[in-house]
Subunit: 336 residues, 2 copies
DNA sequence: AATTTCTTTGCAACCGGTTGCAATTTTTTC
DNA sequence: GAAAAAATTGCAACCGGTTGCAAAGAAATT
């Protein structure tokens, strides 16, 4: 069906090697030969088969992209950036949907079968051991949104969650909140644990009291709503730090439904800065995770890994920033 | 590096064919041989290379998934369903991000190089000719969310947009609206054109007057907001039919910002039924597109195409339904 | 013009599987 | 227990490229 090297070679009156070389970067071919080959290739509509090339070169230019959160709008950005960034470099993403699975075994096998050149594990809810399994299997891997660990043996690109939790507490303190609550994401997620730790530590340091602590069991509006219902049993909460914008919006709606106004009666601080956070209906003050930087850096790193697999593991953390909108009361000036 | 067939064969004391056959569905191997091979394979950690297999069988089990709308939450469902549905069948999605490009040439070449078994073009904004280009190149293709055409030569799975537009007009009429407006998606999209046609035709038939007609230039909240500002110059609008929920939410916020209340002062009817439509802040009455059915059917069809490429082009249209929430006033009873 | 050096070219082996075919082994039949 | 039928096995060619190597050709040097 498809046109092959051999046919092009015959038509151009050269050897198969010559054809191969005209299509390989930096190979040695004379201008005359190249011209003949290109003409023949064009005439025949020849496209080199990447499959065959992969077999010979042991490189597929396929990068696995494994994710387990296909319902959060934050992942729209992730997919968009990943695909276009890989595309720019002539690579292709092979999408893997974990959908609930937490054991890497099956997926390591799968990606090995496809001989992907590298894998990006984009999730904040899985332990480091997950990404590690790819490493062990000899597949270059980056754990994007992963946990920062001093003794890491896997590349990690993301943020310092502990620090972000701390930042949330400081933000509350700056605005004069004293009695605050935490509405975290799934409790087992490393990101949740770290943020919680940072939040509690700094709250303590700054004299805030964390009067309630609840965890949503997934990153959804509904989970946020339900968790907030729980939280409202505690009367004294002045502000809530949420583990995710989606959860936060659910929580805000629960508060509104209970007759509270935001930020007068209760303040909310989100996490991620998804597009909806900027919508009038929520106008959510939130901690922005620099997804673009994280993705670009991850892609760059995975490409680097493919070229030099023995590169020693790097941790790349990007700073988060508070995006001020309307769900928290304003900062207290120095003279008030 | 990786373990190969040959090594397994040697360890098991059989021929390479025998090993190959133990790993091929329905091939003829005795229980004794199979056992020996499996033991050797396990010991060595053997994984057959799909690349090599692809070269020999001319099947890659790769399905291209091309999309150009990575910012709409509706696509979260699309990606989720596509990936998990393919996964179930032992296939893999190769994601392609059109990001603005509208010429198929580059992408046909790309997907041919990867020898994908089939392609799903998931977009409502590109002409039929786009999907057609794959067909012409000999790649089985499904145009998901594509335009229904009587003389189609490409499989199409989606909805009847003309009919949906009509449904919108009928919905307005049922609730006693008389003076209505259209806030469409991108004007060049076939889906927009068809819905507009249906909406205008039925409005006319039912005696509604369409007092304004505007098109957002992309499927975003912002575009909806801006378009609504335009629309509000027309004083007499009682209800707006939007080409997309995201656009609709932007429009609703523009209306609210202008002091209108929904649905008392103005009604809104969305399209798609994304998750946010159900959120309290919007409580959007919208026309639901059965994305799950559409995706499942597309996958099933593309698999069918791979097995029998000469299958004649099918059109599969699924019905849309109005999801009643709070952005339109209630239906007028027969006796009021 | 002869020698040396640098490029270009084709040959042939290889990447890791599959598969038609003929030979061999096993099972069934009488 | 022999003949016929069915199942299993290995050989070898093939899928469509790449690449090390040696031979051939072109360019540079003396």
């Amino acid at each position: 069906m498809a046109v092959t090297l051999k046919e092009v070679a015959e038509r151009a009156g050269v050897s198969r090697s010559a054809v191969s070389r005209t299509f390989t970067e930096g190979a040695s071919v004379s201008a005359r030969t190249r011209e003949k080959v290109e003409k023949a290739a064009k005439a025949l509509g020849y496209q080199p088969s990447l499959i065959a090339r992969s077999l010979a070169t042991n490189r597929t230019k396929l990068i696995g992209l494994v994710a387990n959160n296909f319902q959060n709008p934050a992942f729209l950005d992730v997919f968009d950036l990943f695909t276009s960034e890989l595309q720019k470099r002539g690579l292709r993403p092979l999408l893997v949907n974990l959908s609930g699975d937490t054991s890497p075994k099956k997926f390591v096998e799968l990606l090995r079968q496809y001989s992907v050149d590298g894998v990006i594990v984009a999730t904040s809810t899985l332990p480091t051991s997950f990404a590690n399994a790819f490493q062990t299997a000899g597949i270059p891997v980056i754990h994007t949104f992963g946990k920062y660990q001093a003794n890491a043996n896997v590349h990690v690109v993301g943020i310092n969650n502990e620090h972000c939790g701390s930042m949330a507490a400081r933000t509350f303190a700056d605005r004069g909140y004293r009695s605050v609550a935490l509405l975290g994401g799934p409790e087992t997620a490393t990101s949740t644990k770290d943020r919680t730790a940072g939040f509690l530590r700094t709250s303590n340091e700054l004299g805030l009291s964390v009067v309630a602590k609840v965890f949503a069991d997934n990153y959804t509006y509904r989970a946020g709503r339900e968790a907030m219902a729980d939280l409202m049993k505690t009367e004294t909460i002045e502000a809530v730090f949420c583990g995710d914008d989606l959860i936060c919006m659910g929580a805000m709606d629960a508060a509104k439904a209970a007759g509270k106004s935001i930020p007068q009666d209760i303040g909310f601080l989100g996490f991620n800065d998804i597009a909806m956070a900027g919508w009038d209906a929520y106008s959510l003050t939130t901690i922005r995770q620099p997804i673009r930087d994280i993705i670009m850096s991850s892609v760059e790193l995975v490409v680097g890994m493919v070229e030099n697999p023995d590169r020693s593991p790097e941790i790349r953390l990007f700073p988060c920033t508070v995006i001020d909108r309307g769900s928290l009361r304003p900062t207290i000036g120095p003279d008030s």
